[in-house]
């Protein structure tokens, strides 16, 4: 008998395997080309047969996989989104805090610079209250006799002159702001060195009183304290000239001045304490 009897399934499988091996050897030696191309030819032949099957399996697997991956990704994205939102909120809070710290840092730097320039002791105080009567411009500070504060002492801040001490309590004092109508401070025009008297105005700004005509003043000129009178040290900013009256019939004129200090946002001040270090 030329072929062995094949009456069992196991024998059939063995036969098929042997046939394929022989077929492979045959194609391997009869194919006209390099060894590499022969390999590719087999691969391509097998590939052509298997590709549709693979494609089908791949499509199915990919569909299932992508669907589950999609759900998984969405779930992960949701979790990640929540986490990022929380982190963003924390970052925003931190940013706010840092912004506040930055402003505080800048303010304190200015105060330190101011403090280093001053040849006297500066007593720090915070504003704790304001005058309830809209016609008077005063503020209450949390420093009094216990801190060495006395009536008449000058009050300044990093922006310029704030006012002077009007009433002193044990641990608090009242400061008459330079913008009050009762306030008068000796000043000097920084550019032309013209001596002026700076007083408050009902509008909440400052005003130059008893200004001699033909004085050398211009809008935009800076006014600083003259240091006359022994209350305000010299060189602290009072304000900037906005405009002067030009009535030729008046012997003495006046001028409007924008205060150097923004009183609406003022929080910390320094009381000038002479004769102490």
């Amino acid at each position: 008998m030329l072929f062995p009897s094949v009456n069992t399934q196991k024998s059939w499988l063995g036969f098929l395997l042997g046939f394929l091996v022989l077929l492979n050897i045959y194609f391997h030696y009869t194919f006209d080309g390099t060894l590499e191309e022969r390999g590719r030819w087999i691969d391509r032949s097998l590939g052509r047969i298997l590709l549709p099957i693979q494609a089908a399996f791949h499509w199915g697997a990919e569909s299932v996989s992508s669907s589950t991956a999609r759900f998984s990704d969405l779930w992960q994205a949701d979790l990640e989104n929540q986490k990022l939102r929380a982190e963003l909120q924390q970052a925003q809070l931190t940013l706010q805090k840092l912004s506040e710290l930055d402003l505080e840092n800048e303010r304190l730097r200015k105060l330190l610079e101011l403090k280093s320039k001053a040849p006297f002791r500066l007593q720090t105080a915070q504003i704790v209250g304001r005058d309830v009567n809209p016609f008077f411009h005063t503020v209450e500070i949390n420093a009094g006799e216990a801190e060495g504060i006395e009536r008449g002492m000058a009050v300044v801040c990093d922006q310029g002159v704030v006012g002077r001490i009007l009433r002193v309590g044990r641990s608090s004092s009242t400061v008459l702001l330079v913008t009050d109508l009762n306030s008068r401070v000796d000043g000097v025009i920084q550019r032309s060195r013209v001596q002026v008297i700076v007083g408050g105005a009902a509008s909440g700004d400052l005003r130059l009183h008893l200004l001699p005509r033909r004085s050398d003043i211009r809008p935009g000129d800076t006014i600083v304290t003259a240091g006359v009178g022994g209350i305000f040290p010299s060189g602290y900013r009072l304000g900037t000239i906005l405009g002067a009256s030009d009535d030729p019939n008046l012997v003495l004129g006046d001028a409007e001045v924008e205060p150097a200090v923004n009183f609406a946002s003022l929080e910390e001040v320094f009381v000038v304490v002479y004769g102490a270090r």
């Binding site: 704790v128 209250g129 304001r130 005058d131 309830v132 009567n133 809209p134 016609f135 008077f136 005063t138 209450e140 009007l166 009433r167 009242t174 008459l176 109508l181 105005a201 009902a202 509008s203 005003r207």
Partner: protein, 168 residues
């Protein structure tokens, strides 16, 4: 007209309550960072209340107490302030005795006119200040708005005041 003890006790307790509340309000607006148009002393409201509750004689002392309370939160000269407040009180008292209050609009007008009068008194007597026509106009504008807001803020208490007025 003789007052019995219970009426006097009632008047005193409501007066103490009103002045205590007013002092608390002044303490609040002196430290709270409120906008200027809301930081109003509400003196006219207390005076309208007083014009219904107090006699001229009692009112003189009550207004003196008001001035002392105010002085704790302001540098405004107390003597001058007493003259201003008491003048407004007398004016309100005369109006209240001549015309009976029957509604919110009348009380609003009373509060508004009292605020306006007191601020104008303060401007004139304290010499603050008519430096230019523009400033005068702007100052009167501020005073007008201030009086209007004070009257508005007094309206929620209208029922209380009116009920006291009806009892009297």
């Amino acid at each position: 007209m003789a007052l019995d003890k219970a009426t006097i006790r009632g008047d005193l307790s409501s007066t103490v309550l009103m002045l205590g509340g007013w002092a608390a309000w002044l303490a609040f607006i002196s430290v709270a960072p409120l906008p200027h148009w809301l930081s109003l002393p509400m003196t006219s409201f207390v005076l309208v209340f007083g014009s219904l509750q107090w006699t001229y004689f009692f009112g003189a002392f009550a207004v003196l107490l008001m001035v002392w309370i105010h002085h704790a939160f302001s540098i405004a000269p107390p003597g001058l302030l007493w003259v201003i407040y008491f003048s407004a009180f007398i004016a309100l008292k005369v109006i209240m005795t001549q015309f009976s209050l029957t509604g919110i609009s009348q009380l609003f007008l009373a509060l508004f006119s009292a605020s306006l009068l007191m601020d104008i008194f303060q401007l004139i007597l304290m010499n603050r200040s008519f430096e230019s026509a523009y400033l005068t106009a702007s100052l009167f504008g501020v005073i007008f708005v201030s009086a209007f807001v004070q009257a508005l803020m007094g309206i929620p208490f209208t029922e209380f005041i009116l009920s006291r007025a009806r009892v009297e």
